[in-house]
């Protein structure tokens, strides 16, 4: 992307005013060095691509892990030479060792929750869309923005390296509860692999904070003329609240990790008390393993909303654009986002109902948890009303947005079972939980991400992804995901515990052997459909059908007023002024069916 002549816009804050090492000095117009243009780029659009591509690579790894451990679950008495090809000693004779099974399960969760659905989702779309949709030349601090990606990259290095250490990666579940994760004696994965995991996660938290602070500042301070908060697209509102959630909750997770490091390596007893392991009584007394759970879930619960909200914002946008109708209930959507954001901080202990907590405390969390279902329900009803009496165009992005709503309904409703403690006693740590969070996070949120990728791909690369491959990807994944996770609810209702390597020796659970096999087969097929998506994504960068129209979807928001080939500074001339809200899908008096945000009001037209 060439620098181009930056016209004198109403631009007040020069992106590089805040730099110390002004790698890219905007005042002289010579081309920046390759390293600062393509590696340490400070352009939000480029950083978005960095997050996206890194996220996709991690997604392949995380999904591949699930294929490996589903081979064990589907065929517990068979061996698979391919496992030994990939994993060597960890799968001697073609059978996963129990330690490595647990390592795979752990890293699958860690990778997908944090590295793909947080960094790869928020990082990508906040970066691409916030400056473009609020009407800014770039983020509030492009330098911090660049750092947020490179801290993510550094975190990735540590996580990746941890996969290859001799004692194996962390293996105590992505939740890494102590004492299991604190004591090297308790598990191979609690050795060096756990140290690397913690360092990787600490760097990840830094990355998230750097990004989040930028997103909030940009939304609050750098909106273009006429772009009041109540004219912002819902995508921006959703990303704004996502960043808020992260800023306030990630530091608590960080503190949990710091205490864990101390317990692991410096002899403290924050989480440890009265332990006898490996033939020795440990000296630790007075700590509480439950403390870690509070610190972890204080982030953990907002985290799942950090994962859901961007998809909600994007789905609102994509459903509206492709129905040629305003999003129904714009203000109600904002209020429900606020409701979800606030309540997200108040429900964390619903993950801890069976820890022996005070019953009274438990009941407070039940009340708040079921309360959070209300704004979520409002959003679903508003989405339905958005497409009602629309003029619907089924682009690939639109299909994923519709699938997003369907999956959010399915996964969200099972949350009502789990949030009610008297039911959770039975369902906790069973496959009912696995089914629930996979449908909401693993599929619904992913569908939000896919919808965004297909819809905004032209903005990323000036080309379209192949539609045929896109439709195939959608249908295989949509049908496959339901085939995988719907029957799992039954396993959970029957009490089948999660995180088990083998169910054959259990009188109570061995009746699901054939079902597990069926699920594993579908998993493999769905995995390959994702590879189809990856091939489509990368080949379309160079071979995709070119964008000829600046606004291919007929959207009202500002990103579609920028040139097809993105330029540094986004608009070649002045930044557009905004005159209306983001959802004027109505007759423009000229044969068109929408009015973009930057079109002035006609005579007699009422503003919004």
């Amino acid at each position: 992307m060439s620098h181009g002549h930056m016209a004198h816009a109403d631009h007040h804050v020069h992106p590089n005013d805040l730099d110390h090492h002004g790698a890219h000095d905007g005042h002289d117009h010579h081309e920046p060095h390759f390293i600062f243009k393509y590696i340490f780029s400070q352009d939000h659009k480029y950083i978005a691509k960095q997050f996206l591509v890194t996220g996709i690579i991690w997604a392949i790894i995380g999904a591949l892990f699930s294929v490996f451990f589903r081979l064990q679950l589907g065929w517990p008495d068979k061996t698979f030479p391919i496992l030994e090809t990939f994993l060597g000693d960890w799968a001697k004779g073609g059978k996963l060792s129990p330690e490595f099974y647990y390592a795979l399960v752990t890293m699958h969760g860690t990778i997908l929750v944090f590295f793909v659905l947080t960094a790869g989702l928020s990082g990508t779309f906040a970066n691409l869309l916030i400056p473009l949709q609020v009407g800014a030349r770039d983020m509030a601090s492009p330098f911090m923005n660049m750092l947020s990606y490179w801290f993510f990259f550094a975190a990735s290095i540590f996580m990746f390296v941890s996969l290859f250490v001799q004692t194996g990666p962390a293996a105590g579940g992505w939740t890494t509860y102590p004492p299991l994760s604190a004591l090297k004696e308790a598990s191979l994965g609690s050795g060096v692999g756990m140290d690397l995991w913690i360092v990787g996660m600490a760097l990840f938290v830094v990355s998230s904070l750097l990004g989040g602070l930028n997103y909030v500042s940009t939304v609050l301070n750098m909106r273009t003329k006429g772009m009041s908060m109540t004219r912002l697209p819902l995508t921006v509102w959703a990303l704004f609240f996502t960043a808020t959630l992260g800023i306030l909750s990630f530091p608590v997770l960080f503190s949990g990790f710091v205490l864990l490091i101390f317990d692991r390596s410096f002899g403290t007893s924050f989480y440890l008390s009265e332990i006898f392991i490996n033939g020795h009584a440990l000296p630790h007394v007075g700590g509480s393993a439950i403390l870690y759970q509070h610190l972890f879930w204080f982030l953990g619960h907002p985290e799942v909303y950090i994962i859901m909200l961007p998809g909600m914002g994007m789905a609102s946008e994509i459903l509206s654009t492709n129905s040629r109708k305003p999003i129904f209930g714009y203000f109600a959507m904002i209020i429900s986002l606020i409701g979800i954001t606030v309540l997200a901080f108040l429900v964390w202990a619903h993950h801890m109902f069976v820890t022996g907590m005070s019953p009274f405390l438990g009941s407070i969390f039940v009340l708040l948890t079921l309360l959070i279902a209300v704004p979520s329900a409002v959003k679903v009803f508003n989405w339905l009303t958005t497409i009602w009496r629309g003029n619907i165009r089924f682009t690939v992005g639109m299909l994923f947005a519709i699938g997003f709503v369907s999956l959010f309904i399915s996964g969200g409703l099972t949350g009502l079972f789990l949030g009610n403690s008297a039911l959770d006693i039975q369902l906790h740590d069973t496959y009912f939980v696995v089914a629930h969070f996979h449908i909401v996070m693993g599929v619904s949120a992913f569908f939000g991400m896919f919808a965004g990728i297909y819809h905004w791909y032209p903005k990323f690369y000036g080309r379209f992804m192949n539609n045929t491959l896109g439709y195939i990807h959608f249908w295989i994944t949509f049908v496959g995901a339901y085939l995988i996770f719907w029957p799992m609810h039954y396993e959970g209702i029957a009490g089948m515990p999660r995180r088990y390597y083998d169910y054959s020796a259990w009188e109570s659970f061995k009746q699901f052997v054939s079902l597990n096999e069926f699920i594993s087969i579908v998993v493999i097929i769905v995995f390959f459909a994702q590879l189809l998506f990856v091939v489509n994504f990368f080949t379309s960068i160079w071979k995709g059908r070119k964008m000829t129209n600046q606004n291919p979807w007929g959207g009202t928001t500002l990103e579609w007023t920028t040139p097809i080939r993105g330029i540094h500074g986004n608009w070649p001339g002045e930044i557009p002024t905004v005159y209306r809200w983001a959802y004027d899908y109505k007759d423009d008096g000229n044969g068109g069916d929408f009015v973009a945000q930057n079109i002035p009001l006609r005579e007699g037209e009422e503003g919004h």
Partner: protein
């Protein structure tokens, strides 16, 4: 073999990719607008069919799996769970079918056509109020039912409850019965010795002298008598999972947790009910605890009568007697290693079962 599979998969990908590319070109030739219209119709039909097939699939799945669910609750209190689950299922089921039906019907019904225009309908506050208050009321009802049950579950155990201790460790359950004096003696983790004192019983505490320790994780209860479980852990967090009784509780090192319930169906009765002579109530570990997490299996034997349970107790030897009592003539092989850890006088090391 792996190579062949890789090659076949790669070939399949290439074929699909080429077909997709070709279809894009064909579309361009036929005229983009026409293709878009046709694709749109196809997708609309697919979405509607998905919903219809989906409902059929839900039905089939239920038919296939409903027979593999748990039998009726084996605890008196668990019946409340089953009822509450059914009510929640009814409420969520109605919402599920209604919303999914609308989603897919609207998608089909309002597909883009030559003549359609979208209806500009930005908001309706009455509707928002309606669908905020109705869910709120439904939630309130679910919360009320749930909390009533929650307070019952977490209430104090009745005074006539049989007290049993379960301690988790990597990777089995240790169960301790209070013996004839009805009281569990003190434990001290520093006294633990895997050779002869797996629970760290303080031998100075007389209440320990009649306690029965079972290392094979066999929990003996009797139908009709409430049981209070005192739960703990020696090393990492475990969880005592009792799916048939509709209970579970974390076992956390450093604290004790507790649950109570009344078994209502004996093992013998459940064997008949399920038509399965191999039936046994199992204890599953329900909190990730390491590589043996999946193998931490315990069993629950629910006796028909107190007399049966008493007879079983009589046949057990208290742990203290086995490990610290006066020397008894050696029946089986005894380990040559002297006992360690208790610091008291000599005690023979006899291998426990």
């Amino acid at each position: 073999m792996s190579l062949t599979i890789f090659a076949l998969v790669a070939l399949f990908f290439i074929i699909v990719y080429q077909i997709a590319k070709a279809s894009e070109y064909a579309g361009l030739l036929r005229g983009e607008e026409k293709v878009k219209a046709q694709t749109n119709r196809v997708m609309a039909w697919l979405l509607l069919s998905f919903f219809i097939l989906g409902v059929w699939g839900i039905w089939q799945c239920n038919d296939a799996l409903i027979g593999r669910m748990l039998p009726e609750s084996a605890s008196k209190q668990g019946v409340n769970y089953d009822n509450m689950f059914a009510i929640t299922l009814l409420a969520t089921g109605i919402v599920f079918f209604a919303t999914q039906a609308l989603l897919f019907w609207f998608a089909f019904r309002y597909q883009s056509t030559e003549t359609r225009t979208a209806f500009y309908y930005p908001h309706n506050n009455k509707l928002e109020l309606l669908w905020t208050t109705v869910p709120a009321i439904v939630m309130a009802i679910l919360v009320a039912i749930g909390l009533k049950n929650w307070y019952a579950i977490t209430s104090t155990a009745p005074s006539n409850a049989q007290v049993v201790e379960i301690i988790g460790k990597q990777f089995n359950w240790l169960i301790r019965y209070p013996g004839a004096d009805g009281e569990l003696g003190k434990r001290n983790f520093r006294l633990i010795n895997d050779a002869n004192n797996v629970l760290g019983l303080d031998t100075n505490d007389k209440h320990n002298h009649d306690d029965i320790v079972n290392q094979s994780g066999e929990l003996h209860l009797v139908k009709g008598t409430p049981v209070k479980l005192i739960i703990g852990s020696r090393d990492v967090i475990h969880d005592v999972g009792l799916p048939h009784f509709r209970y579970k509780m974390d076992a956390v090192p450093g604290i004790t947790t507790s649950i109570w319930f009344t078994p209502s169906i004996s093992t013998r009765e459940m064997k008949e009910k399920t038509n399965n002579p191999n039936f046994v109530y199992e204890i599953s570990c329900d909190q990730m605890c390491g590589k043996g997490h999946y193998s931490m299996r315990g069993t629950v034997i629910v006796h028909d009568t107190q007399a049966e349970l008493d007879a079983w107790f009589k046949a057990q030897t208290p742990d203290y007697v086995t490990n610290f009592g006066p020397k008894t003539p050696v029946k089986d092989t005894a380990s040559a290693k002297p006992a360690a850890g208790s610091g008291k006088d000599t005690a023979k090391t006899i291998s426990m079962k």
